[in-house]
């Protein structure tokens, strides 16, 4: 009887001829996540196993696999022979004296000489003869699952751990994530990675108005995202010179509008460079002055028809916070360092900016396009690894 971890995938079931493409990416992601832990991986159709690991690594493996997109659930299980004695020996380990239990059997191997109900009844009966406990089929305190597989073995396990779900990262292409130090953008990145996008993160800073600590905070947030998406590039672009120019030359209330437009223009160019097919940001409708319908329209205009994904657009702040707590970015996000949007913040930003006015304001800045090119040229690229 070996202790193993059984992995199950979810939505991939629905894939037809493409299934191999999705599976091979999922397998690659699983291997990458477990690359530092000595263990063996077996990949069977629709079910994978991790085995031959040290006892002390068990929880580490479970925690690492819980965040692999594409996996639906996992269970720490005993892999046994399919004879009833072996199955019972494993199942009895989960049952405690004085507790009620139920054996929930599943027979993947239809050639097996007993039906699922018969397996449950027989194994349950054997346990009852050895331990002072009771069977309760309706509301048991303990459920022991027995899964007889086509591969000639049986899995016996207690709890099932829910995994991250979604699609394997890398199966849906690449997106440029605008990553600030706030609560929203890491959540937006998480949500799009969940749908299979690989990301390149783009961070804007404005030293000396923002600090080195603010940049470090973004690196920490990016590192947390690698737990879901594997390693990715973080591109840091300074908008200091552009912001100073906007502050000196343009109408105060358009500061944020013009900055957002600049960010989108830079993101579009970066996307082209890194062969990304979309931009991802953490905008949520009406959350702040720049995220009104007009505000979004005006910033979106700069990228033409290029797709911009805003997975949080219809979410309340509380819902976003809930996810950020789940993915463990919240505590970092709320650290009180300035981000570049709060520098030169006007008292009353325009909530209904127009494209025409924004373009007119931009014309007040000489060489804006050159400044954007210069900012991109001076970018810093950091490889973020888990």
């Amino acid at each position: 009887m070996d202790e193993i971890i059984v992995l199950r995938y979810g939505e991939l079931y629905l894939k037809g001829k493409n299934r191999n493409f999705f599976e091979s990416r999922l397998i690659r992601n699983i291997k990458y996540r477990l690359r530092d832990i000595p263990c063996k991986l077996n990949f069977y159709r629709s079910r994978y196993e991790v085995c031959d690991f040290a006892n002390s690594d068990r929880n580490k493996i479970v925690n690492k696999l819980k965040t692999v997109f594409g996996l639906h659930s996992l269970s720490v299980a005993y892999r046994t022979e399919t004879d009833l004695d072996s199955i019972t020996d494993a199942a009895i380990k989960y049952v405690k004296p004085g507790k009620t239990f139920k054996i929930k059997a599943h027979r993947g191997d239809k050639r097996y000489p007993m039906t699922s109900v018969e397996i449950g009844r027989e194994v349950g009966g054997r346990i009852l003869s050895k331990i002072n406990c009771e069977v309760d089929l309706n509301d048991p305190e303990i459920v022991v699952n027995v899964d007889v597989r086509e591969t000639g073995c049986a899995y016996v396990y207690g709890d099932t751990v829910k995994c991250a779900g979604g699609m394997p990262v890398g199966t849906a292409g690449r997106g440029v994530l605008l990553l600030s130090g706030g609560i929203d953008s890491p959540v937006a990145g998480y949500m799009m990675m969940k749908r299979g996008l690989e990301i390149t993160a783009l961070h804007f800073y404005s030293y000396p108005y923002t600090s080195e600590l603010a940049r470090q905070k973004v690196i920490t947030l990016a590192k947390k995202l690698t737990e879901y998406g594997g390693k990715f590039k973080l591109i840091c672009v300074s908008t200091t010179a552009i912001q100073e120019k906007i502050h000196m030359n343009c109408t105060d209330s358009y500061m944020i509008t013009l900055l957002r437009r600049t960010m989108m223009k830079i993101a579009r160019k970066v996307a082209e460079e890194c062969e990304a097919g979309c931009i991802i940001n953490g905008e949520s409708l009406a959350q702040v002055a720049s995220q009104t319908l007009s505000g979004i329209t005006v910033s979106n205009e700069t990228v033409g028809g290029f797709p911009v994904f805003r997975p949080l657009i219809g979410m309340d702040k509380e819902e976003i916070i809930e996810i950020s707590q789940k993915i463990d970015t919240y505590e970092t996000s709320i650290l009180p360092y300035e981000d570049c949007c709060t520098v030169f913040l006007p008292d009353s930003p325009a909530t209904k900016p127009t494209i025409e006015r924004a373009i007119k304001e931009e014309q007040k800045i000489e060489n804006l396009d050159e400044m954007i090119e210069e900012a991109i040229k001076n970018r810093e690229v950091i490889m973020i690894e888990p």
């Binding site: 600090s211 100073e244 009180p336 300035e338």
Partner: protein
């Protein structure tokens, strides 16, 4: 690029000699002092205790080593109240280690009274006196402010306590005063000290308890420090603490510190929109000023790029972005946002101070233009 460090009230570089002494303890005399065979280290600890006590001006038996001044401050507040029904009086200018711990007492139902500061950052003695009554059981007033360098008169505070609440115990956080500001070491019943503000290591401090006074331990266990503070002694830290005091006293040029502060004060006073928070009798080691309309963090970055490290008030204020002490002095929000703290140590020279002045003038001018 080499940095000139002007945030010595935050922490200091450990003296080479001190680091060497500590290394010797860490690698050679590393035995557990409680073990029967570790005579050497016991002697080292006791001679360090004697030296530190002598420098503070108390007797060796009154010194108990702690993990730092925060622990000593906590100890004073959590265990220094004889009459649990009495009130506790602290000043608005306390370090967070006292202020936050007083908040804990408050949440347990103990009455805490907060004595206001005057505009210069010193205790408002009249209002302080009015807060004391026969039910006052504990008083804690900082000796030298970590934010502004304002120095409180411990002798006067003692007299007021003796007049109005004879049985109350008096504690003072003397971290920024040790070796830097003369203070009446006989006035308080309890004092807190830290090594890392004067060239010693972090993680070691001392709590001085007046002879005859019975204070319960805050940390119990193996009974080290005569049952007063359990936990294996931080031997290297203790030896390092003593060594740091010795080096600091040998190396510090007090006249130079005075001159550097004066120069910076004059320079800052000459810049439009800058308000220096200084008064007669303040510590020469700390200079606090506010640049109105400029977030101090931005100025700090530009100075850093020019090779100067300065502080933004205490590390605790910098972290929360609020400066409680300046607020208590009546400084406006706008000025608090632009608060900087320049603090001096043994490595600073007049040349560095002059260059810092130039950098301050230049960068404040740049920022004023860009942010106007």
């Amino acid at each position: 690029m080499r940095k000139f460090y002007f945030d010595n009230a935050g922490t200091t570089k450990v003296f080479d000699e001190t680091a060497k002494e500590m290394m010797r303890i860490l690698t050679e005399d590393y035995y557990n002092p409680s073990a029967l065979y570790s005579q050497n280290i016991k002697v080292e600890i006791e001679s360090a205790r004697e030296y530190i006590a002598e420098q503070i001006g108390v007797s060796a038996s009154e010194i108990i080593f702690t993990s730092g001044a925060t622990e000593a401050d906590n100890w004073a507040l959590l265990c220094g109240q004889k009459n649990k029904n009495g009130n506790v009086v602290i000043s608005e200018g306390e370090h967070s280690a006292i202020y936050e711990t007083a908040g804990e007492l408050k949440s347990k139902g103990i009455e805490v009274r907060y004595a206001p500061l005057d505009k210069s950052g010193k205790l408002d003695y009249d209002k302080f006196a009015q807060l004391l009554d026969e039910n006052t059981s504990l008083v804690s007033v900082i000796c030298c402010s970590n934010e502004t360098g304002a120095v409180n008169d411990l002798t006067l505070i003692r007299e007021m306590i003796d007049d109005r609440c004879k049985r109350a115990l008096f504690h003072s956080d003397c971290v920024q005063a040790l070796c830097k500001v003369p203070f009446d070491n006989s006035a308080p019943d309890m004092m807190s000290f830290s090594a890392h503000k004067l060239g010693g290591p972090k993680g070691i401090g001392a709590f001085a308890i007046k002879k005859g006074l019975k204070i319960k331990p805050l940390i119990t266990g193996g009974g080290q420090e005569k049952n007063m503070r359990s936990g294996t002694e931080n031997c290297a830290g203790i030896v390092g603490f003593a060594s740091a005091i010795k080096c600091f006293n040998q190396k510090i040029d007090r006249a130079l510190v005075n001159k550097m502060k004066l120069l910076l004060k004059q320079t800052l006073c000459g810049i439009d929109g800058v308000n220096v928070h200084d008064a007669n009798g303040n510590s020469d080691f700390i200079l606090s000023a506010s640049v109105s309309g400029i977030k101090s963090e931005i100025l700090q970055h530009l100075l850093y790029d020019d090779g100067f490290v300065i502080g933004l008030g205490s590390a605790c204020s910098a972290r929360t972005g609020k400066n409680r002490v300046l607020k208590a002095m009546g400084v406006s929000e706008k000025e608090i946002e632009g608060n900087i703290r320049i603090s001096f140590g043994c490595d600073n020279t007049m040349e560095q101070a002059e260059m810092l002045c130039d950098s301050l003038v230049k960068n404040i001018k740049i920022l004023k233009e860009k942010l106007r």
